[in-house]
C-alpha cells in the first residue's frame, strides 16, 4: 500500500514537471498576447505524435527531442502570423479562433496519422529500485529533462536580451515600444516559443503516454488548472502549481478513482479563481 502511494506520488511529480513545461508555454502566451490558447493541448499532442514519428522513422529518440521542438517553433511563428495576429484586436475571440485551430490540428492528425492510439517504446529501457518498488528509468529521465528545460527557460528569460525584451513587453508594451523594442516580433516569437515548449513536453511525454489525436483534450484542462492556480501570467507560480496539482492528484488517486481526483482539483481551481483570481501565490511575486 505504501509503495503504491509512493509510486503514484512520484508519477505525479514526473507528470507535474512535464505539465509545468507545457503550462509555462500557455502562460507566457497569455501573459504577453492576452490569448487564451485552446489549441495548446493539441500542440502537446503534435509533440507526442511528432516524437513517435521521428523516433520510429530515424531510429533515434534524441533526434526527435531536438527536431520536433524546432518544428514547433516554426509552426508557432506561422500560426501566430496567419491566425493570431489578425484577430488580436478582439482578444476574447481568440478563444474561438484557437478552438477552430484545435479542430483543424486534431482532424489533420487523424487524417494523416490515423485514429488508433499507439504506444511508444521508451528510449531507455529498464527499471531501478526506488524505495522498495521497481521504477522505470525513463520516467526519471523524463523528469530530469523537464526540470533541465525549465531551468533553461528561466535562464533564457532572465539572462538574455531576448528574454528581457519578452519580460519588458509583458510588463508594458507601450513603454517597450518607445524604448525601440520590436513589440510585434517579440509577441510572435513568444507565441512560437510557447508552441515549441508544448511540443517539447509532448516529445518528452510520448514514451509514457498514449499517442493519439485526442491526447491534447485531456492535457489542456490540467495545464489551465496549473496556470490559473499559479496565477495567470505568474510563471514561477505556474510551475509550482503544476507540480503541486500533479502530486496531489497522484495521492488522491491512491485512495479513490482518477475521475474523483480530477474533480477535486477542478473544484480547488474554481475556489482559487473566485477567491484569489490572481492565483494562489499572488503577492509573493508581485
Amino acid at each position: 500500500m505504501n509503495e503504491l502511494v509512493f509510486a503514484l506520488a512520484v508519477n505525479g511529480l514526473v507528470w507535474g514537471l512535464i505539465i509545468a513545461l507545457i503550462a509555462l508555454g500557455l502562460s507566457i502566451i497569455f501573459g504577453l498576447l492576452d490569448v487564451i490558447n485552446v489549441a495548446h493541448g493539441d500542440f502537446f499532442m503534435l509533440g507526442t505524435v511528432g516524437g513517435l514519428v521521428v523516433a520510429t522513422s530515424t531510429g533515434s529518440f534524441w533526434l526527435a527531442l531536438a527536431v520536433v521542438p524546432l518544428i514547433g517553433l516554426v509552426l508557432g511563428a506561422v500560426i501566430e502570423r496567419m491566425v493570431i495576429r489578425p484577430t488580436l484586436r478582439q482578444a476574447s475571440l481568440t478563444i474561438v479562433t484557437t478552438f477552430g485551430l484545435s479542430m483543424i490540428i486534431q482532424e489533420m492528425v487523424r487524417a494523416i496519422y490515423g485514429p488508433q492510439p499507439r504506444r511508444m517504446a521508451a528510449p531507455i529501457e529498464g527499471t531501478v529500485p526506488l524505495f522498495g518498488i521497481d521504477y522505470e528509468v525513463y520516467r526519471i529521465c523524463a523528469a530530469v529533462f523537464a526540470a533541465l528545460f525549465l531551468v533553461a527557460f528561466f535562464l533564457f528569460l532572465n539572462r538574455t536580451k531576448l528574454g528581457t525584451w519578452i519580460r519588458a513587453v509583458r510588463h508594458d508594451p507601450e513603454t517597450a515600444t518607445t524604448l525601440g523594442i520590436p513589440v510585434a516580433q517579440v509577441s510572435g516569437f513568444t507565441f512560437a516559443l510557447g508552441t515549441a515548449m508544448a511540443l517539447l513536453g509532448g516529445v518528452i511525454a510520448a514514451p509514457i503516454t498514449t499517442v493519439e489525436f485526442r491526447t491534447g483534450v485531456d492535457v489542456l484542462p490540467f495545464c489551465f488548472m496549473a496556470v490559473i492556480i499559479g496565477g495567470l501570467g505568474n510563471l514561477q507560480g505556474t510551475v509550482a502549481a503544476a507540480i503541486m496539482l500533479a502530486v496531489l492528484e497522484g495521492l488522491v488517486t491512491s485512495v479513490t478513482e482518477p475521475t474523483i481526483a480530477r474533480i477535486v482539483s477542478l473544484a480547488f481551481m474554481s475556489v482559487v479563481l473566485l477567491v484569489r483570481p490572481h492565483g494562489l501565490f499572488a503577492g509573493a511575486t508581485r
Binding site: 491566425v83 484577430t87 479542430m103 484542462p221 474554481s270 473566485l274
Partner: protein
C-alpha cells in the same frame, strides 16, 4: 419599402418556410432532411444561449453544454423514474437546467471575460467528470435511454414523436416560443440593462443598474435556453448521455453563434443551420470535414466578426439606403457601428 419592412417580411418568409418544411422536403424525396431540420432547430437554441450571453451581455461562456446535459438528464431520468408525460418531463428538464445555472451562475458571474470563460468550462468539466463516474445513475458515456411518452392524448387522438412530422412541429413550436420570449426579453428594460452592461459595465453600475444581479438573470435565462435545447434533444434521440456535457459541445455552440452572428436574435439559427447542413452534405464525401469547419470558424472571426446576420443586415442597408453625400455617409457609418450587429464586434474590442 424600408429596411425594417424588408426585415419583417423576411421573418414572415422564414416562419412560413419553417412551417412548410415537412411538406416541401418529402415532396422532393428528401424525407431524411426533415429530421435534420428538427436537429437544427434544437441545436440553434444552444447557440442562442451562447448568443444571449455573448451578444447581449458581453460574457463568453464556454460551458453551456453543462445546462444542455442537465436538460437531457432531467427528461430521461424523470421519465424513467416517475413515468411522467411529455410536457412535465420537458418542464423538469428546463427547470433543472435553470436551477443548475442559478447555482453555478452565483459564482461564475462574479468574473468576466477570460476568467468567466475559464470558470464556465471548469464548472462544466466538474459535472462532466461527475456524470462520467456516476455510471449507475447517468450511464456515463453510453447514457440512459427511455421511451418517449405521447405529446398529447385526447380520447382517440394521440400525437407521438414517432411520427417525424409531429416531432418536427412540436420542436418548432417550442423553439419558436423560446425565440419569441428571448425577443421580448432583449427588447424589454431588462434587455436594455443587458446591453448597457455589455457596452460598459462601470457606467451601467453608475446609472443604478445592479450589474451582478442582471448578469445572473441573463445567465439563468441562458441556462434555461440551453436546458430546453438539451431536453428537446433528449426527446429527439430518446436518450441522454454524459458525453454531451463535454466542453467540445459548448465550443461547437460558440462557433454556431459566432458564425451566425453574435448579438443578433436569429443569428444562432442561421449559424447552426449553415454548419449542420454543411456537415450533412460534406461529411459523407469527406471524412475530415472538421478541418473545413475549423477554417470557416477562423475566417469568420477574421473577416466577418458579425457573422451571417451581420452580412445580411449590411446587405439590407445597402439595398434600402440612398447613397448619401460624404458627411451623411460617415454619420451612417457611425450609426451602423453602433447598431444591432456592430455592437457585438464592438464590445469584443472594448473589453481588452
Amino acid at each position: 419599402m424600408t429596411a425594417a419592412y424588408a426585415r419583417a417580411l423576411a421573418i414572415a418568409v422564414l416562419i412560413v418556410a419553417l412551417l412548410a418544411v415537412p411538406f416541401v422536403l418529402p415532396a422532393f424525396g428528401a424525407t431524411f432532411w426533415v429530421s435534420i431540420a428538427t436537429e437544427i432547430l434544437i441545436w440553434s437554441l444552444l447557440a442562442a444561449s451562447v448568443n444571449l450571453l455573448l451578444g447581449y451581455v458581453g460574457l463568453l461562456s464556454f460551458g453551456q453544454a453543462l445546462y444542455f446535459g442537465i436538460g437531457m438528464y432531467g427528461v430521461a431520468l424523470s421519465i424513467n423514474a416517475w413515468n411522467v408525460g411529455f410536457w412535465p418531463a420537458l418542464a423538469i428538464g428546463i427547470v433543472a437546467a435553470s436551477v443548475m445555472a442559478l447555482l453555478t451562475g452565483v459564482f461564475a458571474v462574479r468574473l468576466t471575460w477570460h476568467y468567466f470563460a475559464i470558470i464556465t468550462v471548469v464548472f462544466s468539466l466538474i459535472f462532466y467528470f461527475a456524470a462520467m463516474s456516476m455510471k449507475g445513475v447517468t450511464g456515463g458515456d453510453d447514457g440512459v435511454s427511455f421511451s418517449p411518452p405521447p405529446v398529447l392524448k385526447l380520447g382517440e387522438l394521440e400525437l407521438t414523436l414517432v411520427d417525424a412530422t409531429t416531432q418536427y412541429y412540436v420542436v418548432l413550436g417550442v423553439v419558436l416560443a423560446c425565440y419569441v420570449l428571448t425577443a421580448l426579453i432583449v427588447n424589454s428594460p431588462l434587455g436594455l440593462a443587458f446591453k448597457a452592461i455589455r457596452e460598459n459595465d462601470r457606467r451601467a453600475a453608475l446609472i443604478g443598474i445592479n450589474v451582478y444581479r442582471t448578469r445572473l438573470i441573463a445567465f439563468v435565462i441562458a441556462g434555461a435556453l440551453a436546458g430546453t435545447s438539451g431536453a428537446l434533444f433528449a426527446f429527439f434521440g430518446r436518450y441522454a448521455s454524459a458525453s454531451y456535457m463535454f466542453y467540445h459541445v459548448s465550443g461547437e455552440a460558440v462557433v454556431w453563434a459566432i458564425v451566425g452572428g453574435a448579438g443578433s436574435l436569429l443569428g444562432p439559427l442561421f449559424g447552426a443551420g449553415a454548419l449542420i447542413v454543411f456537415r450533412e452534405l460534406v461529411s459523407t464525401l469527406w471524412e475530415h470535414y472538421l478541418i473545413a469547419v475549423g477554417a470557416i470558424t477562423i475566417c469568420v472571426v477574421m473577416f466577418a466578426p458579425r457573422g451571417l446576420a451581420g452580412a445580411w443586415n449590411d446587405a439590407l442597408r445597402l439595398a434600402f439606403t440612398r447613397i448619401p453625400d460624404e458627411p451623411a455617409r460617415r454619420d451612417a457609418f457611425d450609426r451602423r457601428n453602433a447598431s444591432e450587429g456592430g455592437e457585438a464586434a464592438a464590445i469584443i474590442e472594448e473589453k481588452r
